[in-house]
């Protein structure tokens, strides 16, 4: 019975998005407080119903209801309970329901935490979010219902894709979706501002915390995805420039640009139409990502069951959503032109360059992702664009961006006077270059100029990020959460750059065959296979090797890499053994049995690889700190208070 309840709840949830959209938008136009109140109620109702619907599906997984097609396709009675629950979002239909739940949660959050924002504005925002929810709910109901029954019921399920049977699956997709869909909030604020024809620094102050939090989730989602791919795919790579990774990375880049552009809009009332455009683009790229993943137009290791019907729906949705917003932009953006200028050397210029470079990187990635498809559509043959293109295309705009980040952080608004900070910056630069060369030579040995550049940039950005708050304190300014967050995030970027530069320059790997008793050496570590054994998991069988790692006779670690065969789907899976130290990872992954009792193995030495994810999480932490700046919670200006009061009296 339970999935029918879930289906019914979902239909009702869809129905509630319509009054949410109508009364939200119309209530703001006709200034009717009770319509606006009705909108908020619809938001709560929609959230509760979506949550009920999701809980019903999860329950079907929990009780192994194999009369539900989606459960039968993605679960199995032998699957451990935690993965049965996580399997709810393990495939297309359920993950969309999770997506809708994330959207409902964001909408509810906007409705609750918008006390400092005039009701009319909130009402418009909720109305726009209602339209988006309506689209996604309709998408699930018409093309991707997870509630379909299977008759006759299956005796047992076909099991969850073994790749997804991992703690990473439990948290990576929800984080990712919350981040993706969170970008709908700045989108909705942008549309609301264009409808109203009013955009000022107060508006920017409303949008900034929401953008930050969405960006934080997206950052965590992408980082977790990278970490998961690293240890679960067993190849030891941390980023593959796969179409789906790109799809998640593009909204992140534009979101990053948006955060910086919003800063200018708030502080100086500039870049207004640019900020609007970025708000629209960030969310549109999220939807585009969904389209790429679910429609089957691009090949990817993340292949969801693809279906052109679904693709057509999302494409239409993307066209309507982004098309109407950009149409509105073409009509309204001229309103937001400003005549205030800024000097060529100023905080504004640095942030403008930051934006241009981030958006440029996004376009290059978009081009690389879609290029094979364009060629195919023009009948010019099938090709694939690989990491060599992306590595370079991404590095070209990112290098100058990281170089300019440090002076940008220290530049003043309007017109930067580097007179006082020039000396400090030059000292920092010299220290960074020396430290970069020293690290390359002393710790790891000469590799290439790029390595030294990478190291020096890491020190350059990291030191500047640490010095900035100190010099502010010296000048007698107090530190706001916004400033601390900025420093933390930029320091995270430095940690990330250091991790990438070291790993890419000094990683070592070796493919070889070992039999029990044999030893191999890599980067000064001795790897000895001490035994091979068969292991039985809950739903898989595995061959497990025991690898003892020593260095100069001292034992470092004992690893247990496995080669698993999952019983139901018969997929072989490599479970790498990883010894994770702070400054290096040692990985052992098993290949194939070679018949004579030996196995092919891949040994890898990855220096500083952990810094990549630590840096990314630090960036997220910075974004989170900045989102809680006190000024975002302050009541609105007198002017807006009047507008709000107007509504109450009508």
């Amino acid at each position: 019975m339970s999935v029918e309840l879930g289906h019914f709840a979902l239909i009702l949830a869809f129905c509630l998005t319509l009054p949410q959209a109508f009364f939200g938008l119309a209530g703001a136009v006709y200034r009717k407080p009770h319509w606006i109140a009705l909108t908020r109620n619809a938001v709560v109702g929609h959230f509760v119903l979506t949550a009920v619907s999701f809980a019903c599906l999860m329950h079907a997984f929990y009780v192994n209801d194999f009369s539900v097609l989606y459960v039968a396709q993605n679960s199995n009675s032998e699957l451990p309970t935690i993965y049965r629950l996580a399997a709810t979002w393990g495939a297309h239909e359920g993950s969309l329901l999770l997506w809708l739940l994330a959207q409902a949660t964001w909408t509810l959050a906007v409705s609750i935490f918008s006390r400092s924002i005039p009701d009319v504005v909130t009402s418009r925002v909720l109305g726009v979010l209602g339209l988006i929810s309506a689209g996604f709910a309709l998408f699930i109901l018409t093309t991707s219902s997870p509630f379909e029954r299977l008759w006759p019921a299956a005796v047992d399920g076909r099991d969850l894709n073994p790749l997804l049977q991992d703690p990473g699956l439990i948290i990576h997709p929800p984080m990712q979706y919350i981040g993706y869909i969170g970008m709908s909030v700045p989108f909705a604020f942008a549309v609301a501002a264009m409808l109203e024809g009013k955009l000022d620094s107060v508006w920017a102050r409303w949008v900034r915390p929401w953008t930050n939090v969405a960006w934080v989730f997206l950052t965590c989602g992408i980082t977790l995805g990278s970490w998961w791919a690293y240890y679960e795919l067993g190849w030891g790579g941390w980023w593959f420039w796969d179409a789906v990774e790109n799809a998640s990375f593009m909204p992140w880049l534009v979101g990053t640009a948006l955060i910086h552009s919003l800063a200018v809009t708030e502080k100086r009332g500039l870049f207004k139409s640019w900020t609007l455009l970025l708000s629209i683009t960030a969310f549109s790229l999220s939807v585009l990502g969904t389209f790429l993943v679910r429609s089957g137009v691009v090949e990817s290791v993340h292949a969801f069951a693809s279906d052109p019907g679904r693709g057509l729906f999302i494409l239409t949705f993307l066209g309507l959503c982004a098309g109407s917003a950009l149409g509105l932009y073409a009509w309204r953006a001229p309103l937001f032109r400003t005549n205030t200028g800024f000097a060529p050397v100023s905080r504004e210029s640095f942030l403008l360059i930051n934006n241009v470079l981030l958006v440029g990187a996004t376009l290059l990635i978009l081009l690389g992702t879609l290029y094979p498809m364009f060629l195919d559509a023009l009948n010019l043959g099938k090709i694939s664009v690989g990491p060599p293109y992306f590595d370079i295309a991404f590095l070209i705009p990112m290098l100058p961006m990281v170089v300019l980040l440090a002076p940008g952080m220290h530049a003043g608004w309007k017109k930067a006077d580097f007179g006082r900070t020039k000396g400090l910056l030059l000292v920092l630069l010299a220290v960074s270059v020396v430290a970069g060369i020293a690290l390359a030579l002393v710790a790891y040995g000469w590799h290439s100029v790029m390595t030294v550049i990478g190291f020096s940039l890491a020190f350059w950005v990291g030191l500047s990020a640490l010095v900035d708050p100190v010099s502010r304190l010296r000048k007698g300014h107090s530190l706001s959460a916004g400033v601390i967050g900025m420093s933390v995030a930029h320091f995270g970027l430095a940690v990330f750059v250091l991790g990438v530069a070291t790993t890419q320059s000094y990683r070592q790997e070796m493919d070889l065959s070992l039999r029990p008793g044999q030893t191999a050496e890599l980067s000064g570590f001795q790897f000895t296979m001490t035994k091979l054994s068969d292991v039985k998991g809950p739903n898989y069988e595995a061959t497990e090797a025991e690898i003892r790692i020593t260095r100069d006779g001292k034992e470092i670690a004992v690893l247990h890499p496995q080669k698993r065969i999952y019983r139901v789907q018969k997929n072989p899976m490599t479970e790498a053994g990883i010894d994770s130290g702070l400054t290096r990872h040692l990985l052992v992954s098993m290949g194939e049995p070679l018949g004579d009792g030996s196995w092919s193995l891949r040994l890898q030495y990855k220096p500083m690889v952990r810094f990549i994810w630590m840096g990314a999480f630090t960036m997220a932490l910075g974004g989170l700190i900045a989102a809680f700046d006190r000024r975002y919670r302050k009541r609105v200006t007198a002017d807006d208070a009047v507008a709000a009061a107007d509504v109450k009296t009508v």
Binding site: A72, L150, P152, A154, V155, D156, R158, S273, L277, I280, T281, S284, L288, F291, S295, G296, V297, S306, D307, P308, G311, L312, L315, L318, G319, A322, G323, L326, G327, Y329, A330, W331, A333, P334, L370, M373, F374, D376, A377, R567, V568, Q569, K570
Partner: protein
């Protein structure tokens, strides 16, 4: 101000391209094998390792290839349906025993009844890879010209047989 129209113009171009891309994929998506010649195989028989079975044995006539294994619960579930379909004698059913143990497979056929005219023993799963098998049970319909014309994933029932397989078989008979 024309420049404010640029973003919406770019979007329109992008959507148009995707629309074309989507149209193209429609033809290739369902199953790469449909309409193509069935992958050739030659495997030992499950009941007698000294004899082989190959799809050449069925050249010129339609047949059904059913992928099964003793570890597969769905296969046990569909077994009665397979027996019923086999009893109708409309088309020979060839078994492909997949990643299994020979004695277990023989015991299964003895105890549950044998719907197959012959069963091939694919212990390594190599033939199944050629056929694009994702999991068991899967059932393929091959026409008299040797082309795969239908694929069913999940347990077969008599109802599904009559709805999806029989019409295709009848078409075959008419066009011949």
């Amino acid at each position: 101000m024309l420049r404010y129209l640029i973003p919406v113009g770019l979007l329109a171009a992008l959507v148009a391209f995707f629309f074309v891309g989507l149209g193209r994929d429609k033809q290739t998506l369902p199953s790469p094998l449909l309409g193509k010649p069935a992958p050739a195989f030659s495997l030992p028989r499950v009941d007698d390792p000294t004899q082989t079975v190959s799809n050449k044995d069925f050249a010129g006539q339609p047949y059904v290839l059913n992928v099964w294994a003793t570890w597969c619960v769905g296969c046990r579930q569909e077994h009665d349906a397979l027996l019923a379909i086999a009893a109708r004698g409309e088309v020979p059913i060839v078994g492909l025993n997949w990643k299994d143990e020979r004695d277990l497979a023989q015991q299964w056929l003895r105890e549950l009844g044998n719907p197959y005219v012959v069963t091939a023993f694919d212990q390594e799963g190599r033939v199944a890879i050629d056929w694009g098998v994702y999991g068991a049970p899967e059932t393929f319909l091959v026409d008299s010209a040797g082309n795969v014309i239908h694929k069913h994933v999940a347990p077969l029932t008599v109802e599904i047989w009559e709805r999806e397989f029989l019409p295709l078989l009848k078409q075959q008979a008419v066009s011949r």
